[in-house]
């Protein structure tokens, strides 16, 4: 059954190839998949490519973890304590929509142009997504489970870990799915400023000098990374939520 997950990307590629071959679209801006893959094949032979990939994946992972863990923690807190909710949620709804460009000077001030600044940009984006989705996840927990804990007078932090956290996991996983995507998007922005390597840098670079095929190779890699991370999240979900295999809540 799993093969079906390849059908739709293949259909998209075939249609795109057809459209490009028939000249229905400017291949100068939208090169045919065949041309992209030719370029891809050429690039994977270079050392530069693997360097870019490694650098980006490391930035992604580090930024992701730095953002996701506190994000989930804050989301849980907001879900559990209505005081925390009332204190934090206005800040989140105000800061979250600020374009990351606005944060750049601040980030440069704090981290300079080191790797840390890239982690920070990714982490900030991931943080908000995780906080909001985890909060939603906690709210979605059947109140009876909190009642059990409250009745037994179980200390707050244990409730946090044994009821709110596992109960919010479905929401957390949806958050992770969104956050991996956002992390990739932000990485590309982060690598525009002050980077000298990385996939995002390469995409920008290719676009700036109008190496369209190379830019698309970069985008294809991003897409594949997105797919890989989403699959990983799915795998984790199936592994860590055995009680959900039967469905329901």
């Amino acid at each position: 059954m799993k093969y079906q997950s390849w059908i739709s990307p293949v259909i998209v590629l075939v249609v795109w190839q057809a459209v490009a071959s028939l000249g229905l679209v400017e291949t100068r801006f939208f090169p045919a998949p065949s041309a992209i893959f030719a370029k891809f094949a050429e690039m994977v032979m270079t050392e530069q490519f693997w360097l870019d990939l490694r650098v980006s994946v490391v930035r992604l992972m580090v930024g992701f973890v730095i953002g996701a863990v506190p994000g989930a923690a804050v989301g849980l807190l907001m879900g559990l304590s209505s005081l925390a909710e009332r204190m934090i949620s206005p800040l989140i709804s105000m800061l979250y929509p600020l374009p990351k460009i606005a944060l750049l000077p601040l980030i440069m001030l704090i981290f300079g142009l080191s790797e840390a600044s890239k982690y920070a940009i990714v982490a900030i984006g991931v943080f908000f997504i995780m906080a909001i989705n985890t909060y939603g996840g906690v709210q979605n927990i059947n109140k009876i489970y909190f009642d059990v804990a409250k009745n037994l007078k179980i200390p707050g932090w244990k409730v946090y870990l044994t009821v709110a956290l596992p109960g919010a996991l479905p929401g957390i996983f949806t958050g992770l799915r969104l956050a991996t995507g956002v992390a990739l998007i932000l990485l590309v922005s982060a690598e525009f400023v002050g980077a000298t390597e990385g996939l995002g840098f390469r995409i920008w670079w290719s676009w700036t000098v109008f190496w369209v095929e190379q830019m698309y190779v970069g985008l294809v890699i991003i897409a594949l990374l997105g797919f890989t991370f989403a699959s990983l999240v799915g795998l984790c979900e199936r592994t860590f939520l055995p009680w959900r295999r039967g469905g329901g809540n």
């Binding site: 009876i144 489970y145 009642d147 059990v148 804990a149 409250k150 009745n151 037994l152 007078k153 179980i154 200390p155 244990k158 044994t162 009821v163 596992p166 109960g167 996991l169 939520l241 055995p242 009680w243 959900r244 295999r245 039967g246 469905g247 329901g248 809540n249």
Partner: protein
């Protein structure tokens, strides 16, 4: 077997509870006055929807009266004051049967290795769940989930056990076994029990007293002492005329209420 001491375990004074439904005030409980004596086994019966669960949640610290006071006397602050067997499904879906069973004990820091394990194992065995230790709740039947929540509450070793129709989803034999079990637990540990049930047989079999509630807004209509000596046996009891009388009295009290509730409608 009843050993009421001077100070009541639970005292409920002039309790009212209203809910707001579609901007109207709905009276769920009106003017409840009730005591549960220390070490008493009190059964609570009443028509469906009369406010039994609402009252029980108040004793368990999960709800506040709109007016009046509910107080539960705490004796040993290390043990949980109360443990509820909820009417609805309440076992944690993310824990296996075994982890669910030990949850209360572990979380309260009362776990002391072999002894605790032995206790939990014992209750699991009694509730017929030993074979299902590693199952997750979604792999259990309705009755099994109910039994699991009984194990969780029993092993929490509370001072006050609050049971909300705990045996409703059980077959007659399992019910019988667990009725004996809860009686044993109560006798051995001198705890107090509030036991909500719809089965008059069960109420008479288990209770020191049976409180009868009226239809919504719930009031305590009458409290009846059960005079039978323990240990009691349902079959033997049923053959006595007193049982028939008690049963008839409870039946009539409840019947009036159901009729009264229907008339309003």
């Amino acid at each position: 077997m009843t050993s009421p001491t001077a100070a009541p375990k639970v005292s409920i004074r002039d309790v009212c509870r209203t809910f707001s439904v579609n901007r109207q005030v709905f009276h769920a409980l009106a003017d409840i006055n009730l005591e549960i004596r220390a070490g008493e086994f009190l059964c609570l019966v009443g028509p469906s929807g009369c406010g039994k669960s609402t009252l029980l949640r108040m004793l368990g610290g999960l709800d506040q009266p709109s007016s009046g006071t509910v107080s539960v006397r705490v004796e040993d602050s290390r043990r949980p004051t109360s443990a509820i067997v909820f009417q609805q499904e309440s076992v944690f879906p993310w824990l296996t049967v075994e982890r669910n069973a030990t949850y209360a004990v572990r979380m309260l820091g009362l776990w002391n290795g072999a002894e605790s394990q032995r206790r939990v194992d014992y209750f699991l065995e009694r509730c017929g769940l030993s074979k299902f230790r590693d199952f997750y709740p979604h792999q259990l039947s309705g009755g099994m989930k109910q039994r699991l929540s009984i194990v969780r509450a029993f092993s929490a070793h509370p001072e006050l056990l609050l049971m909300d129709e705990p045996f409703a989803a059980l077959d007659e034999q399992n019910k019988l076994l667990l009725q004996q079990e809860v009686e044993r637990l109560w006798e051995d540990n001198k705890i107090s029990v509030l036991f909500i049930t719809h089965s008059l047989d069960e109420a008479i079999l288990l209770g020191d007293r049976v409180a009868v509630m009226s239809a919504a807004p719930g009031r305590i209509k009458e409290t009846i002492d059960i005079p039978f000596e323990r240990p009691r046996n349902l079959l033997t009891l049923k053959s006595t005329p007193e049982f028939g009388q008690l049963y008839g009295r409870l039946w009539d009290l409840l019947g009036e209420e159901v009729m009264a509730a229907r008339k309003d409608r």
